[in-house]
């Protein structure tokens, strides 16, 4: 039976990308000087604003007196087509927190706290993955010591093919998808979040696709950080004159 869609006919997706292609990434640092670190991050049409406040005084004490990390993941009410009011997803916030806990050097600032707030102003799929990417850029902008640059991507099965960096139309429904986060583009995952049902034979291929896409995203994030460091170095050089 012949199926008429671009996936089978031309091996490309409806937005013109190949299955393993990620979307365009744009960023702008230092949008809100009031926060210690802030970044405006775009991955395709998904737009995220991330602000980092810290290290600050904390009344909450963790065991071992390590740095306390607080994350909030917030989807604004005009971000997607169907959400009625602004949602603060607790689950996504927890995942973000667990990812960042393993990345931030918590023993560098004992008895303090670091707050990471992400606001999605336009959601076009891969919301959690974009937030993780934005958060890693914002942490670098805030000057908080990290073990490496985290990058994350959302992969799933659409129309029978494994696609990376899903957009809104591909994310909806009961298709299986994973959000995979890695450190420094290496092939070791620091966070995997998995939804719906997938056959065990497909699992390995999906994770491989996730690692490949993460290498690409890590390359973009690293470039962003180098550009920002150059920019800041020029500002510091001018000040010293």
């Amino acid at each position: 039976m012949k199926r008429f869609n671009t996936y089978d006919a031309y091996q490309i997706r409806y937005d013109g990308r190949r299955f393993d292609q990620i979307r365009n990434i744009n960023f702008k640092f230092g949008l809100y000087p009031h926060a210690d670190g802030s970044v405006y991050y775009e991955q395709g049409c998904t737009k995220v604003i991330c602000a980092v406040y810290g290290p600050r005084q904390s009344r909450v004490r963790t065991p071992d007196d390590l740095c306390f990390i607080n994350c909030q993941f917030s989807l604004s009410s005009f971000a997607t087509q169907n959400k009625k009011k602004a949602q603060r997803s607790m689950e996504a916030g927890r995942l973000l927190e667990r990812t960042l806990k393993s990345v931030i050097d918590r023993s560098a600032y004992p008895k303090t706290r670091v707050d990471v707030f992400c606001e999605i102003i336009q959601g076009d799929g891969s919301n959690l993955a974009s937030c993780i990417n934005a958060a890693s850029l914002a942490l670098v902008d805030a000057g908080i010591p990290v073990k490496g640059v985290v990058s994350a991507v959302e992969c799933g099965v659409t129309r029978g093919y494994i696609c990376t960096d899903l957009n809104n139309t591909e994310v909806r429904g009961n298709a299986p998808k994973i959000v995979l986060a890695t450190l420094d583009g290496k092939r070791e995952s620091i966070m995997v979040d998995y939804k719906n049902c997938l056959h065990i034979n497909q699992m390995e291929r999906m994770i491989e696709a996730g690692f490949d896409a993460n290498e690409k995203i890590y390359a973009c994030l690293r470039e962003a950080i180098l550009l920002r460091t150059e920019e800041l170095r020029k500002i510091v050089a001018v000040k010293e004159l």
């Binding site: 809100y32 604003i49 604004s76 005009f78 602004a86």
Partner: protein
């Protein structure tokens, strides 16, 4: 709002002394606003949107129309709903539920100001048939807070309403009095927008002792004694007018909101003065906003393919 920034007693005395002499910390006069930047159409997936930067206060207003089906649209007064969110990005004190209290205050002020039939006479266009109507929801997201969010929110709401575009579908009747919408064939040429010349603008007046001033920054908000919000509906003006006629006109406009948010007492004589100052300021603010809206309408229409450069662009303060 009270626990964002702590300033010392000495700083408060310094600010208040300056106000009594007619000077403010950043060099403005008592009746000067900070520079306001208004951008339209920043959220392409909504029916209308605007981003307003009032000094360092940054907020986005977006309008979504939702078609709802009810038993009888006559029972529903077609009003504009406001929802305000203080994003945690603005301050860590807004994380969790703490930001909602501040947001509720701003939303209720806006709702009060919009609760009458004079402001949007064309709103009845949104009642499509006996059982369906478009519900208008204005969502305001505060991204950075540096005082005077209410004024910025009212400017953003008006700007977003001016940017709103929608299509009135033809309603086809079905059984039992229900109707079904059908989009017209050439949808792009049938975009309608509302006439916003009567939409209110709110101005916040802060008073310290005998002096009143406009547009308080975050630090100044901690030192004020009384806060009064005045919302006016501007009257129609003809294009060619000289200075003397304008003075008379400011005394004849509708007031849609008059609310005192900080407990304080205004003496009867002072009150008239304060009110006139407020009305004048609001009329000026409205005039400037209408000029900007006209300027935006006269710009050549952008293609749908062009990027929206609002956050990526270079315009920063």
């Amino acid at each position: 709002m009270e626990n964002i920034v702590d300033i010392s007693q000495a700083e408060k005395v310094y600010a208040v002394d300056g106000i009594h002499q007619g000077l403010r910390n950043d060099g403005r006069g008592l009746m000067d606003f900070r520079p306001i930047v208004v951008e339209f159409g920043v959220m392409p997936n909504t029916h209308g949107s605007a981003r307003v930067r009032l000094g360092q206060t940054d907020l986005i207003a977006a309008i979504k129309l939702r078609m709802r089906q009810v038993k009888d649209t006559e029972d529903f007064s077609n009003r504009v709903d406001f929802y305000v969110t203080c994003s945690a990005v603005a301050s860590p004190d807004f994380a969790g539920k703490h930001g909602d209290e501040c947001a509720q205050r701003i939303a209720s002020l806006l709702r009060k100001a919009y609760r009458n039939n004079v402001i949007l006479p064309e709103l009845k266009l949104l009642k499509l048939s006996k059982d369906r109507y478009y519900q208008t929801k204005v969502d305001i997201l505060i991204l950075q807070y540096d005082g005077n969010a209410v004024d910025a929110a009212s400017v953003a709401a008006k700007a977003a309403l001016s940017d709103m575009k929608f299509i009135i579908p033809t309603m086809i009747a079905r059984d039992k009095g229900k109707t079904v919408p059908q989009m017209p064939s050439k949808a792009r040429s049938q975009l309608k927008s509302l006439d916003i010349s009567n939409v209110p603008v709110i101005v916040t007046l802060n008073s310290v002792g005998d002096n009143t001033f406009l547009d308080a920054t975050l630090e100044e908000e901690q030192c004020v004694g009384g806060v009064l919000h005045v919302g006016i509906v501007p009257k129609e003006e003809e294009n060619f007018m000289n200075e003397t006629e304008i003075k008379e006109l400011t005394e004849n406009c509708y007031i849609t909101l008059l609310k005192n948010t900080k407990p304080s007492i205004f003496h009867e004589e002072k009150f008239d003065e304060i009110l006139t100052v407020g009305i004048e300021a609001a009329t000026e603010l409205n005039r400037a906003l209408m000029l900007r809206i006209e300027e935006h309408k006269r710009e050549p229409k952008k293609n749908a393919d062009e990027r929206i450069e609002s956050f990526m662009g270079d315009l920063q303060f």
